[in-house]
Amino acid sequence: MMQIPCPFCGPRNESEFFYGGPVRPSRPDPAAVNDEDWTAWLTQVPNPLGPVQEHWWHARGCGTWLTIWRDTRTHDVVEAPDDAG
């Protein structure tokens, strides 16, 4: 079970959070990119073997949305929000 550092509450159990998906690159201008890049942005979800940046929602706690870096190999939170307690 992961402990996720909430900026407001401090470290809390994973079960208090809802997963919000990986942080995706900014939406490109569809008129300025080729079809391959546009399709990649639409359909490919970041899924690296290693650290991935993710959104989590402290839905059963204070309601804060936060962004962490989680290592997909170990589930360690390798980088917490800047002001996490």
Partner: protein, 165 residues
Amino acid sequence: MPYDVTFTRLETQALFDLKGRREAVQEWAGEALPACPDQPNSKTEAGGATLMFIGPDHWLLRADLAREAALEATLRPAEAPPEMSIVRVSDTLAFFRVIGPEASEILAIACPMDLHESRFGPDTASFTEAFGIKALVTRCEGGFEVGVEQSFGPMMLDCLTRASC
């Protein structure tokens, strides 16, 4: 062997949800409220009302139901300035009081948060989860109080009964 614990469902409580910056809340409703708590997930009490700091710019005022009308008249939710909101939410939460020498054992089953007195003292109040549902947990004399959405009240009663057997 059953746990040495007693739990009761409390009467509906007067609850007001306040959102806004501390300064705005204090300016609009400071006289009607206990002092705003400084620390996240803490509470202050004054005049029979409890003010809990439950999220960023988010506060919950709790008092006996008999005081609901007076508090609403003082807080004037409909006239609140645009930088804050006040909503009466008394009907939303069902509160349970779990007291007894082994109350912390029951809460340890229900809740993943560390509720040891050194981490979760008498001035603490926090939303977390209890038996898998969102719950407001506070300490009270001899134990804990747990608030869950009204519709989960019967489920919470059932879970407490099963956990204490």
